[in-house]
């Protein structure tokens, strides 16, 4: 969804490439790392925009399952963010309380999917190998 091309992700990608390929060469040596960080931030946001809400829906379903909540239709766009926040906070609190200690092996195994989804946006390829 965009008014005109380039869309938001394409614009950010263009800025990332400019920072990475050009600005990095112009700035003083001690600022290069910060330019690299800026380029990377743009690339992360571009990937997040491209990924859309699917990763959040998958997290929502995983968190609910781990909480023992019944399967349900994913919430609509407006409620999704709040619902994921709620389920994430509840799962974190439940784990902290020790109530899920019996299932710790299962948790650390299943949460890999959640972390993998974060990596796909923030650092693709980190989970390879």
């Amino acid at each position: 969804m965009t008014q005109d091309r380039p869309d938001a992700a394409e614009l950010l990608q263009a800025v990332a490439e400019f920072l990475f390929a050009e600005v990095r060469e112009w700035v003083p040596r001690e600022k290069r790392f910060q330019v690299l960080v800026a380029a990377n931030v743009c690339a992360v946001v571009a990937r997040e925009l491209r990924a859309g809400e699917e990763p959040l829906r998958e997290d929502w379903a995983l968190f609910r399952e781990l909480l023992g909540e019944p399967a349900a239709d994913a919430p609509g766009d407006e409620e999704l963010a709040d619902e994921v926040d709620r389920a994430r906070a509840e799962l974190a609190a439940r784990i902290r309380s020790g109530q899920l200690d019996e299932r710790l092996d299962e948790l650390t195994e299943r949460l890999r999917d959640h972390v993998r989804r974060k990596l796909e946006v923030a650092r693709p390829g980190y989970d390879d190998g």
Partner: protein, 343 residues
Amino acid sequence: MAEQPGELADGVRSVLAELGADAVVRLEPIPGGASRETWLIEAGIAGDRAAPGREGEEAARRYVLRRDPAGAESLASQQQEAGLIRLARKAGVPAPEPLHYEPAGGRFETAGILMAHVPGESVAPRLLRKPEYEVARGALTAQLGEALARLHSIELAAAVDVLGPPPADPVVTAIEVWEATLDSIGVPLPAVEAGLRWLRAERPDPAAPGLVHGDFRLGNFIVDESGLAAVIDWELAHIGDPVEDIGWLGIRSWRFGNDDRRVAGVGSLDDFLAAYAAAGGEPPDAERIRYWEVFGNLKWAVICARQANDHLSGLRRSHELASLGRRICEPEWDMLELIGTAR
């Protein structure tokens, strides 16, 4: 660090005068310090005090000032840090000589230590890639093993004199410190929470407590062309299980892309442990190292969350800090991988 250093310069000048150096020529912030401000200082040397026969050399001395940022605190106070560095130097650990301490409200404004400047490079990617550090890279693994063994050889009583009595259960205390840090941020992280429960469940047998540097990793080593010149950033030092330092050193984040070189991105754990043992360190078993590597990844995840929060809360606005919020998933992943291999 955008403040005018005028008053600070006056304070530094006054301290330097007592140390035999003259006018401050240069006072500039060194970027990179996350929880301490670091300043590079250049001072002239008065003609009559300059060493005879060294007129050809640059008539300047360099110092480093580390001080608390206004409103921030850290695990070890500046004064404790200076005390620990003195102990470490006595034990043969290369570290910058602390020259003068000023308490909060003193001539450095916040609490701070003036230290000797150690020339060299600490920025990890430069150390790992630049050709002029090739010899240093070859020597570093063994030098780190030796330095850490010496650090761990410091007598507990001496460390207690500086830091106070050790906690009853250092492992539980280590977990609680980072759990409390996470709570102070208020960010729900299910994988980190699962890691905290795992760390509580899988605690190793109690170890003989000793001084732990707490941030012994690439980035906190000043390296010159022949190798390790100084171990810096002692602000996370505490008394605990010394193997904590070995686990932290080995986490993937501190390999800066050289993933197959487990120690600082330059060497193997076996070579490191051989040097550690040769210098008198007690070689830990693999399980205990892995435990502390899980802990180290969890700690780094919490630090990333805290740094991002410092930006979000407005304490220190910085895109660099902000970006760390999205790096939490890297140590989370490594932590879950390590827990998986322990099953």
